[in-house]
């Protein structure tokens, strides 16, 4: 094999932009991130080193990726309207994730809430126009966040099928032409003072299981009554800040609600596949990087005075690792294609059970493989496995949470069972 680009992906489906986007981001990653990433763990609170790299990726002073989803007439690149939006996202997630999965998540979570108003067929032009300048005209990186998780649990909120939103405690009340929001969220990517814009999944009627009462409301972070805590210290993912957010009588215009009764629940279901497909992309990126590092290691270190890779037993392990990367990449692209078939006669809408459950299943599978092969790769490195100089341990710490976020592993398992076996009570 020539290099890590040879891992399988469905070439006939790849977006025409793929090659170009990849080369631009790879260039950025190799120059702005790879040489510094070993220092990121200590920079978790301040982002002194991390922030400039984000600016060069997302802001107009650099590549300007934060505006990519917006329509061209609002200053964006129109990816939200592209038939390849998911596939392009997968490539972006891979390329940034190869360098640092936490940067990948912080960057791509910026798109996440915006997908509800920028992706065909649900473009909300009024909100798109409202928020376009915030992202399209900025020299520096500007972030958004999707504040779902609450102190009592994140899984239940993502499990709308079962709970119907009844566990949500963040409440929005319509007063005149304003929403008044009260509640407490935890953990959103890009909280801790990073994001300029939140989307807040909430309820207009506490305890209700009627999906008409579920709302997604945009809240600029500087709105009066929004308070963010300091970032949490975590096992990894230093480039992503997470914190508490309190909403106390926060008032926003009534039209900041994404779409309205019922439709908000549908677009909430739609953002789940986006998160899942991107999660798979992050892991594939990290795995491609794992392969690069491992290749060097097993070619230069020896067992019984032979390169590790020439020992039949060790070869079987690293062969399996690379084989799994290949398979995971194929699956991740298949997941992305499921997303991109959403408007096609032979596809399913991304709010459908078919897409949600199959994607949860794929993400669960890819996460399990990723967690496993990073653990194995550390073992191959033996005494060097835990050493930050080799970067594998960083990915190992970072990607564990990808397996656990978005409602957790068990929710993925339940969704798969629900879909494949028509379970009624899970």
């Amino acid at each position: 094999m020539k290099n890590f680009d040879e891992f399988s992906k469905p070439e006939e489906y790849i977006s025409p932009m793929d090659k170009h986007i990849r080369s631009v981001i790879r260039n950025w990653a190799d120059k702005e991130v790879m040489p510094y990433r070993r220092k990121y763990d200590e920079d978790w609170k301040d982002h002194h080193i991390i922030e400039p790299a984000f600016d060069k990726l997302m802001g107009n002073s650099g590549i300007g990726l934060q505006k990519a989803l917006f329509p061209p007439e609002l200053g964006g690149w129109g990816i939200g309207q592209s038939d390849s939006a998911f596939t392009i996202s997968c490539a972006l997630a891979e390329e940034v994730g190869r360098a640092d999965t936490a940067m990948a998540v912080a960057f791509m979570v910026t798109y996440w809430p915006l997908t509800t108003i920028l992706v065909e067929p649900h473009v909300n032009w009024r909100l798109a126009k409202e928020f376009a300048p915030m992202f399209c005209n900025a020299e520096k990186a500007v972030f958004a966040a999707n504040a779902m998780t609450e102190p009592q649990g994140g899984a239940d909120i993502e499990n709308l099928e079962l709970t119907g939103g009844k566990t949500i405690r963040t409440v929005a009340r319509l007063e005149g032409d304003e929403w008044v929001i009260n509640g407490h969220k935890l953990w959103p990517t890009n909280s801790g003072g990073v994001a300029k814009l939140f989307v807040v999944p909430c309820t207009t009627k506490p305890g209700s299981t009627d999906l008409k009462d579920f709302a997604m409301i945009f809240v600029p972070a500087d709105t009066k009554g929004v308070t963010q805590g300091g970032p949490y210290e975590k096992a990894g993912m230093a480039a992503d800040k997470n914190s508490d957010i309190w909403f106390e009588d926060v008032r926003v215009p009534s039209w900041y609600r994404a779409h309205g009764p019922s439709m908000d629940a549908q677009v909430f279901r739609e953002i789940i596949p986006w998160g899942l497909a991107a999660s798979m992309g992050f892991m594939c990126g990290a795995m491609l990087n794992l392969y690069e590092i491992l290749y060097d290691f097993v070619s230069t270190k020896t067992y019984k005075n032979k390169p590790l890779k020439e020992d039949d037993h060790i070869a079987s392990i690293i062969g399996r690792i690379a084989g799994d990367i290949d398979i995971c990449r194929i699956l991740s692209y298949e997941a992305a294609k499921m997303g991109d078939r959403r408007n096609k006669p032979y596809g399913y809408p991304i709010y459908s059970d078919e897409v949600a459950c199959k994607m949860r299943n794929l993400k669960d599978f890819v996460s399990d493989r990723a967690v496993d092969i990073f653990g194995k790769a550390m073992d191959v490195l033996g005494p060097y496995g835990a050493d930050r100089e080799y970067d594998i341990e960083k990915h190992w710490r970072d990607i564990k949470i990808i397996q656990l976020w978005m409602g957790g592993k068990q929710l993925c398992q339940m969704e798969a069972a629900r879909y494949f076996f028509n379970c009624k009570t899970l």
């Binding site: 935890l186 067992y303 005075n305 390169p307 060790i314």
Partner: protein
């Protein structure tokens, strides 16, 4: 969690005598009082408290002298029969802090090859014990054979490259070796134990005092876990040591591995038990599906069962190994191929089990498991670090080969 751990994770109690039980009890009290009951403070002030708690353990309780013979001021646990007791002590330490556990496990492993009957080396004990097991806290560091680099043709210990050499010079020896990676504490060690090859390529071990000016220490490594142990690569450039500091009896390297597997196993079992306590607390207070207690959900219960099962069986493996070591008349000395192989098989199983327990348990803890505030993530990182070190080369290639060699009489692997 309001349960008695020993009544859940049962083990053959008869293996541990009354005197050992008293020491084990003391260590449990130390763990609860100094670390477990104040995890937050311990985490925020880790570097300082790491040293202080090690001091109270080693000097106040006196565990620095646990495995020294009584005539050297020790507790007299220098007989293989003490293996279950020593492993139990490490379990208690591991429950509090795996890094302190590793530092202690390495110390006892190094001392085992000097003090354990029937190989008690009085001369070496006379030389080292007063300096390294006295009134001051001393740190020990172990350098095992492992990987080589392409282009080198190194002597081997059962497939593993020996990168250090020892040669006679005058009335002593000189030790050489470049960029060797210890399993712990390379940056701060007061005493090294290095697996070396002699001129003929035969493996032996050398004790090297850390204050020798011909020792060059690399920068302190940043690692996944166990960072308080301050590891670093070490080079020995013609380091002179007295003749008695080299042990070259047949099987001495195997002895090191046997004890190391037992004692690091003890540490990881302890860490696994504390992880179990933490997940237990979480599962009793967290609700899912709009109000059901997590542990009453069959799927979550099955994950919890995995956690308990892995920790439980690890503890049994641990005592099985301890018992095997404690009965040389039944199974052979710790240097024998049988005991050495069993130690590797069980040692690696214990690490894998505890790692799986933690990986599974984290699944139930969502973000809490990932945040430093909950402490479980530290256990996860520490155990992975121990496990990777113990793998040696290429994901346990040497362990697999040792196992196949013993059970199937392979000749060339």
């Amino acid at each position: 969690m309001n349960k008695v751990l020993d009544e859940l994770f049962v083990y053959p109690k008869g293996l541990v005598d009354e005197e050992s039980k008293r020491v084990i009890h003391l260590v449990r009290q130390w763990a609860d009082k100094e670390i477990i009951s104040k995890r937050q403070e311990y985490r925020e002030n880790y570097e300082k408290l790491f040293i202080e708690t090690r001091k109270s353990l080693n000097l106040t309780i006196g565990l620095q002298r646990l495995t020294l013979p009584e005539e050297h001021g020790g507790f007299g646990w220098n007989n293989p029969a003490s293996a279950p007791g020593i492993a139990s002590v490490l379990t208690e330490i591991g429950r509090a802090d795996a890094a302190i556990g590793v530092a202690t496990a390495v110390k006892y492993t190094m001392l085992a090859v000097i003090t354990m009957a029937p190989n008690f080396d009085k001369a070496l004990c006379d030389a080292l014990a007063p300096v390294y097991c006295g009134e001051e806290l001393k740190t020990f560091s172990l350098i095992l054979p492992g990987m080589g680099n392409v282009g080198q043709d190194t002597p081997l210990f059962l497939g593993r490259s020996i990168l250090a050499s020892v040669e006679p010079e005058g009335d002593g020896y000189v030790v050489n070796g470049k960029n060797l990676r210890p399993i712990n504490s390379g940056a701060v060690a007061d005493l090294f134990c290095v697996v070396c090859a002699d001129k003929t390529g035969k493996p032996c071990i050398a004790f090297v005092p850390g204050d020798n000016t011909n020792i060059v220490r690399g920068k302190t490594l940043l690692e996944t876990g166990l960072n308080a142990s301050s590891n670093a690569d070490v080079s020995f450039n013609n380091v002179k040591i007295p003749k008695s500091y080299v042990i070259s009896r047949q099987g001495v390297v195997e002895e090191l591995y046997t004890w190391l597997n037992l004692l690091l196993g003890g540490v990881s079992v302890g860490t696994g038990m504390n992880f179990f306590e933490m997940v237990g607390d979480w599962s009793e207070t967290r609700t899912i599906k709009g109000g059901y207690m997590m542990k009453e959900n069959p799927l979550c219960a099955s994950v919890l069962a995995d956690v308990a099962d892995e920790v439980f069986t690890s503890r049994l493996f641990l005592y099985d190994l301890a018992q095997t070591i404690s009965k040389p008349n039944d199974w052979g000395q710790s240097s024998s191929q049988r005991v050495y192989t069993i130690a590797q098989v069980l040692g690696s199983k214990i690490q894998q089990n505890v790692m799986r327990a933690i990986n599974r348990g984290l699944e139930l803890m969502g973000s809490a498991g990932y945040s430093k505030e909950w402490h479980v993530e530290k256990h996860w990182r520490d155990i992975k670090t121990i496990q990777s070190y113990l793998c040696g080369v290429g994901a346990e290639a040497p362990v697999k080969m040792d196992t196949a060699r013993f059970f199937f009489d392979c000749k060339d692997i």
